[in-house]
Subunit: 354 residues, 2 copies
């Protein structure tokens, strides 16, 4: 398989973790006879420094014609601390999401038994936890009409959804459920909100086309409880933008380390893969960052290319490093390995050298 | 002190748990020389059965002229399972909230060390957890304008807040913080929502009048994480209606038992005190229900009357029963005590007989 991948290293630890992912993708390509061609592009603080623009046109053009985008992290404190800064690194990410119309965000929640001591939850709650959150990413109250009264004493936000917006993300979630445990949970507040009732109506109607998928419904307040008291009940969770923001961040703490969590954002044209962690500038250039969230994002990219065996091999390699204790400083402050060494070990595992 | 209390026993386990609370309030009155006069009124399924109305006018009239309302629980499966039921028990509760204009809901989150094995969180996360959530209860998106397009393919919900609505709940939260650790956390999404920016503006302005209170701000998605990874950081949490619904339910699982959680709802006229648990019809009449959420709601009622010493004595008595293992079946399925016995033990503790 020949594929083009636009690589955006970004800021802070973005370059060093993303370089490990490229190393892994190359090892996968060698082992399985694929050819991945990389087009390196700028975004974020580094793009401002070099071009004055957090998202240069060339980056957009590359992303629009590529097969997938692998992205590192964005943000630099020198812009955060300058209230007069006219352009900010984060604008680059918001703009690329818009350009690519990334309407679905996917976050896998996976537990690694050897890290269960880092989780805030008791070990028995973590048994069998393995789910995906499908969050609608371009609609709802975050993108609704905002208004403020003239005297400044009243404000409002509008939350609107159309059947079309719900269908396209729900389709992806149903398809994901079909490949997994065939269980989809819609999180809404249909006892109160009109938009939630539309979500429920659309999903109920679509369910007829996926007879192999069991669909259930949870109110968002109950979901916020269930994620803590019984997270193993979930397979694929589907929800609107704001509820997805809240419950995916809540669920992200279960694994015990944000350094492990990848994400995929799917649009009409190109999909983008990135760790959920930030640019962590304090660690940049020190070869101490955890590369696993980026490497697991690369695994999601392989899934997206339907290279399931390859993606699973990468995930197995990651699980193996965790089991063997080949972990970065954020996971074990005493016995730890460098970013680059962890990348090499995963590469060796993929190449059957270990 | 002479006070009138309207008692609404309600449905399911409501009567038996609320009767324990009345027993405790009487013990407190005897010990401290107060006089509480009770006016028993109907609401819920029992009110439908007896009068055809889930909230009879007589109940409303009593609640409007009383000093406080102590309420049990609402709901009966015979109405849930009847799709033709024209009136439902729950309508009574919604209507009384409206009649009393209960604009603030308060939920204390308290951890009892002897129950930490029931919490989904690791023990070390529970150390020092003791906070109050102040949730705005009559505004925001739950009560906003709802609309649906004619073809049914689009729906919207409006979220509106006025400075006035924010000020009255924020005032109560600031005052509570002054009596506690002097730390108020506003939970909002001010980086995205116009209403959240109004909340932040109003609270920032009010903060000047409470110089002894430290105010900080958390985005709701981050708050959903912090409640799990570091719940001990909170003292008083203030938030809007929907965020409060989500995070107060999330926080309610920390203690390990919903049977322990009281609530207060404050309005212009009268305040209402109730356990957060439901009517639990399977347990009704068996003398096995946990009376602690109701008894702790009675403690909040004493707080509301500014009877702080009395309220603390009730809370100490509750903590003592938990320490000594005088617990109901939901807490310990093997060695447990009846609803009535637990009430008696707390009464004896208050009367210095133990
Ligand atoms: Mg978030
Ligand atoms: Mg709720």
């Amino acid at each position: 398989m020949n594929k083009n991948i636009t690589v955006i290293l970004g800021d802070g630890i973005g370059p060093e973790v993303t370089q490990q992912s490229v190393k892994i993708l190359n090892a996968v390509a060698d082992q399985f006879g694929h050819k991945f061609t990389y087009d390196y592009q700028l975004m974020g603080a580094i793009a401002i420094d070099k071009t004055g623009n957090p998202l240069p046109d060339e980056t957009i053009a590359s992303c629009l014609k590529t097969d997938a985008v692998l992205f590192g992290a964005i943000g630099d404190p020198k812009y955060d601390n300058d209230p007069n800064a006219k352009v900010r690194p984060e604008q680059g990410l918001l703009k690329i999401r818009k350009e690519l119309n990334l309407f679905t965000n996917i976050r896998p929640i996976t537990i690694y038994p050897t890290l269960s001591h880092l989780s805030p939850l008791k070990n028995e709650k973590l048994q069998g936890v393995d789910f995906l959150i499908y969050r609608e990413l371009t609609g709802g109250i975050y993108f609704g009409k905002k208004s403020k009264s003239e005297d400044g004493n009243s404000a409002s936000d509008d939350c609107t959804y159309s059947s079309f917006e719900i269908e396209r993300v729900a389709k992806l979630a149903f398809e994901a459920a079909q490949k997994r445990q065939k269980h989809l949970t819609l999180v809404d507040k249909a006892n109160v909100l009109e938009t939630s009732r539309l979500w429920r109506k659309v999903v109920q109607k679509m369910a007829a086309s996926y007879p192999d998928v069991t669909v259930d419904y949870l109110f968002v307040d109950n979901a916020a409880m269930q994620i803590i008291i019984n997270p193993a009940q979930f397979d694929v969770v589907l929800t609107e933008n704001m509820f997805g923001d809240i419950i995916s961040d809540e669920a992200s703490v279960l694994s015990g380390s944000l350094g492990l969590l990848p994400s995929a954002s799917i649009g009409d044209k190109t999909a983008l893969f990135e760790p959920i962690h930030g640019s962590y500038p304090q660690a940049a250039g020190k070869d101490i960052a955890n590369p696993l969230a980026s490497i697991l994002s690369a695994a999601l990219l392989l899934d997206y290319f339907n290279l399931t065996e390859e993606a699973n091999l990468v995930r197995n390699a990651v699980a193996w490093t965790l089991e063997k204790g080949f972990v970065s400083k954020d996971i074990d402050p005493v016995n730890n390995y460098s970013t680059n060494t962890i990348g090499d070990l995963i590469k060796d595992f993929i190449e059957n050298k270990i």
